[in-house]
Symmetry: C3
Subunit: 137 residues, 3 copies
Amino acid sequence: MPSLPLKTLKIPTQRRCQMIDLTLQIRGLLSDVKGQDGMVIVYVPHTTAGITINENADPDVQSDWLEKLGQLIPHREVYYRHGEGNSDSHLKASLVGSSVTVLLERGQLILGRWQGIYFCEFDGPRQRDLLVKLTTF
Amino acid sequence: MPSLPLKTLKIPTQRRCQMIDLTLQIRGLLSDVKGQDGMVIVYVPHTTAGITINENADPDVQSDWLEKLGQLIPHREVYYRHGEGNSDSHLKASLVGSSVTVLLERGQLILGRWQGIYFCEFDGPRQRDLLVKLTTF
Amino acid sequence: MPSLPLKTLKIPTQRRCQMIDLTLQIRGLLSDVKGQDGMVIVYVPHTTAGITINENADPDVQSDWLEKLGQLIPHREVYYRHGEGNSDSHLKASLVGSSVTVLLERGQLILGRWQGIYFCEFDGPRQRDLLVKLTTF
């Protein structure tokens, strides 16, 4: 299985909690795949951010998603002991997950009609990295 | 790494929220693997459904799972703005996840003794698709 | 794509809910990779435990993580019907997830500076298994 060199996307985030649609940027890395089948592994090398696949049509989906998740796991709890004040961000990162795997068929991302790939910032704003590995079968 | 053509399972769901055990159907797709090692990537191309691996013995596990998740993320919140009324479904889909990877050894799914692969409907009933990609190493 | 034989780590857990850093043990399995690129799939064959990638510097992160998750999904709910009393463990396992995929570059795990790989016990203490599959591209 040949693989292409690991690529890094630089992602500046603007708010403490934010979903950023990276589908187009990831699609822009596919030119080397040249019509083959394979997969893309998208990996977040941070512990207070995650990655998910969700709806890319109505922005209210993302704001509702962030608000409900923030209500479940609020920024502050009286019992948090971690001194950086971002214990909520670490739990959110684990529940959302640190990577997604998306299939490639004939060089194209196989996403459902309404699916986009979202970087999930839970402790911004920061400069973040996202690792993208393409492999053909 | 040779891969087999992408397969699609058609899944009719019956309720708004439901877990459906697909282990046997996925196992039924393995005949082409012919005793080799590899992996299966099971992918949900929807934004209001997910996939998970969980217990396949006592059905009370699934009903407790669905009830507790629904209590954490109820159907309605006064602050939801998304007009389709399924903001809960989108968050559940992200937390449960849109794909699972299961190893194949000598052509068999490597699952723990009590593990089954469950499609998780969070906004049904609907006709759903599930994508299954087999790859041998 | 050549793959190496599936390996099993034996993990004794000491508490009902516990995060155990396995990064060093997983790194110890990489000698056969011999400087190649690839990936490692780490898989939990249990339905009341999970695996996640999170911070490995301050132990307060793990205790806050476990306490908040336990507050969201407590051990007991009056409506749980599953007789074993571990319905909470099954839901936690699904939300955290049963596997992680980590990239290998020149034989090394590609983890962010603060990232470690944690086995998450949600119904211990028990003797657990963790499956580790290395594949080079």
